[in-house]
């Protein structure tokens, strides 16, 4: 049973917003650990809460829309329902964590690993700045797994 969940999310058709998918795919190619599960999705939906409640740690990978393009960031995230949006098709990370805690009785430790994006144009490729930052991002994720 997975103890760590890696969630790469975003829109893979919108340039750097597909970072989570690119990173998840590369992590999957070299992942040898059986206690790590990797999944990708377009956005965070309430259904993920149940899955989150069954792991000890979760690492989210997403593009950031602020910061210098290519800048790699790491941020611990706490559950927080008050940050939830009025609309309910997708959650932000704090709301999703709170949902796991309230509805399923457990909430994993959560970290967001992100890379500041350069462009969200219609393309399936990452921008040069973000592409160049991917090895550093993967190194960070592996370090967190250790």
């Amino acid at each position: 049973m997975a103890r760590v969940l890696i969630v790469g999310y975003g829109n893979p058709l919108r340039g750097d917003d597909g970072l989570g998918w690119h990173a998840a795919r590369r992590l999957s190619e070299n992942m040898r650990r059986e206690d790590v599960e990797i999944l990708t999705c377009h956005q965070l939906t309430p259904e993920l809460a149940e899955r989150l409640s069954r792991v000890d740690r979760v690492i989210f990978i997403d593009a950031a829309c602020t910061g210098a393009p290519g800048e790699v960031l790491q941020q611990a995230i706490q559950p927080d329902m008050s940050a939830a949006a009025d609309f309910t098709h997708h959650f932000d990370i704090p709301a999703l964590l709170a949902c796991a805690q309230i509805l399923f009785g457990a909430c994993p430790q959560a970290v967001l690993c992100s890379v500041a994006a350069e462009t969200f144009d219609l393309t399936e490729s990452l921008s040069p700045a973000v592409e160049a930052a991917v090895p550093k991002l993967l190194e960070l994720v592996h370090r967190l797994l250790d």
Partner: protein, 473 residues
């Protein structure tokens, strides 16, 4: 001086919309319009594409009900190829269609509508959402998540992914079902059935709290339309079109998909991008009809599964002929979830369900094809024409929300006349105007091919066009 109210954006619905309420000189509601404010234009930009691309192109219309577009488009392409698809492929398409119905209805009921029932239509709007429900009724919120997951998991298992699966193709499906996947789905049935049954139990007990809403939420005579099979059974994948009137009498039956234009006309109004389909024999605007869960349960002779049929018998007690209040779309939605789960189990236990023969291959053999199926929100119709090279030259889509357009407008007017008065709006009044729209679970992205998710605004407008009050969330 007469006035106008605008609700913009309409919240907890799929897509972008706006409501304008026109007041007369005495401050009473004179008229109301539900506007769909954006356009996407899939009908036009698919022209020039090879016909076999249509299912995956059309699925992009919507992130909530892509399976409906996929299935209906594939059925139109089956017609272009003039093939009869293998029986197992039909079964598998049906399972995916029902799985989507379950997850979409669960989203509508639990995430969008239940805050009104559980927290109250006049409760604090900051709390009146799914997050408020999670805090006040965690068991119910959990049930909603589990039911949605049930449907999504089936779609993912069959199609490889939850959103925009490419598994349904012209001629059938691309891969047969494996025994492991069948057993995995079957294992989830008991919990899903128990969940929807306890949901029905608590929801029916709330009816007594909403007599005024049941009486005024788009509660008027109209026609109802949907698909039934030869026996008049509730079906979502195939069958023929049937119209019944407000008394429950069948006014047209056995209508084949390719004959839809003999019965359905499409009018346009300058204030909305959403077309106004109408029942042609009655003309526009008298030919108002409704589709979707309420309509489906009004047109059928029976559901065809034991638990849903027992529930349907209770549902029928709500009206002497057809059940007219759109408030009961919610109840009908829950009965359809029950029917969907029962039917998925039934189909999965068919002896040929694991057959490897799931796809027919052919070149185009006709220049015109119409596909029709029941999407969660109602009847979905795709009509294509191609040239000799199989290139799309014409596409016409009639989406569930479009069929309901006239009824939604009349419903907004009815509820506004009952709950809105004066030139100053109160939030609870406006929430009821929104709630009548929400009962239909409209998907405005589907219906106009608009981009994005739906906010909505309400405006109060005087006869001379001045905006007196505005509410925007």
């Amino acid at each position: 001086m007469a006035q106008q109210i605008t609700i913009n954006p309409v919240t907890r619905a799929e897509g972008h919309g706006k409501i304008t309420i026109f007041l007369d000189d005495d401050g009473f509601v004179r008229d109301a319009q539900f506007h769909v404010t954006q356009i996407r234009g899939f009908e036009k930009f698919c022209e020039g594409r090879p016909f076999y691309e249509m299912p995956s192109l059309m699925a992009r219309i919507c992130g909530i009900c892509p399976v409906s577009h996929l299935i209906t488009s594939a059925k139109a392409c089956d017609e272009l190829m003039a093939v009869e698809i293998p029986e197992t492929a039909q079964y598998l398409r049906r399972i995916m269609n029902l799985a989507q119905l379950v997850q979409s209805h669960a989203l509508s009921f639990f995430h969008l509508a239940s805050p009104d029932f559980l927290l109250g239509l006049d409760s604090d709007p900051a709390q009146r959402n799914i997050f408020g429900v999670m805090q006040s009724h965690p068991n119910i919120a959990r049930d909603g998540i589990l039911l949605r997951k049930f449907g999504q998991q089936i779609i993912e298992l069959l199609g490889g992914k939850r959103i925009h699966p490419g598994w349904i193709v012209p001629g059938g499906v691309s891969e047969p079902l494996t025994v492991e996947k069948r057993d995995q789905i079957l294992a989830t049935i008991p919990e899903a059935l128990a969940t929807i049954q306890r949901t029905l139990d608590w929801f029916k007990r709330t009816f007594d709290n909403y007599p005024e809403e049941i009486r005024t939420f788009a509660n008027f005579p109209s026609l109802f339309m949907g698909l039934v099979n030869e026996q008049g059974e509730l079906v979502h994948y195939d069958g023929h079109l049937r119209f019944v009137d407000a008394t429950g009498k069948i006014v047209a039956d056995g209508i084949r998909a390719e004959d839809y234009q003999d019965y359905i006309g499409e009018a346009v109004e300058p204030w909305s991008y959403l077309k106004f389909p109408y029942y042609k024999p009655a003309g526009y605007p008298d030919g108002i009809y409704r589709v979707g869960p309420l309509a489906r349960l009004n047109i059928i002779n029976f559901c065809g599964t034991p638990l849903a049929d027992a529930e349907w018998a209770e549902f029928r007690e709500l009206g002497r002929g057809a059940v007219l209040s759109s408030f009961h779309y919610h109840y009908a939605r829950l009965i359809e979830i029950l029917n969907g789960i029962e039917r998925i189990e039934h189909i999965l236990n068919k002896p040929d369900i694991l057959s490897k023969n799931v796809r027919a291959y052919a070149e185009p053999n006709r220049l015109e094809g119409v596909g029709i199926a029941e999407a969660p929100r109602g009847t979905l119709l795709h009509h294509y024409r191609i040239n000799e090279d199989g290139i799309i030259t014409y596409a016409n889509l009639i989406i569930a929300t479009g069929h309901n357009n006239m009824a939604m407008n009349r419903g907004v007017l009815q509820v506004a006349k009952h709950f809105v008065n004066g030139t100053k709006m109160q939030e609870g009044m406006l929430n009821r105007v929104e709630a009548v729209i929400r009962a239909y679970d409209p998907c405005l992205s589907c219906s106009t091919h608009a981009v994005g998710q739906m906010p909505l605004q309400i405006q109060l407008v005087s006869p001379d066009g001045a905006v007196l009050d505005e509410l925007r969330r």
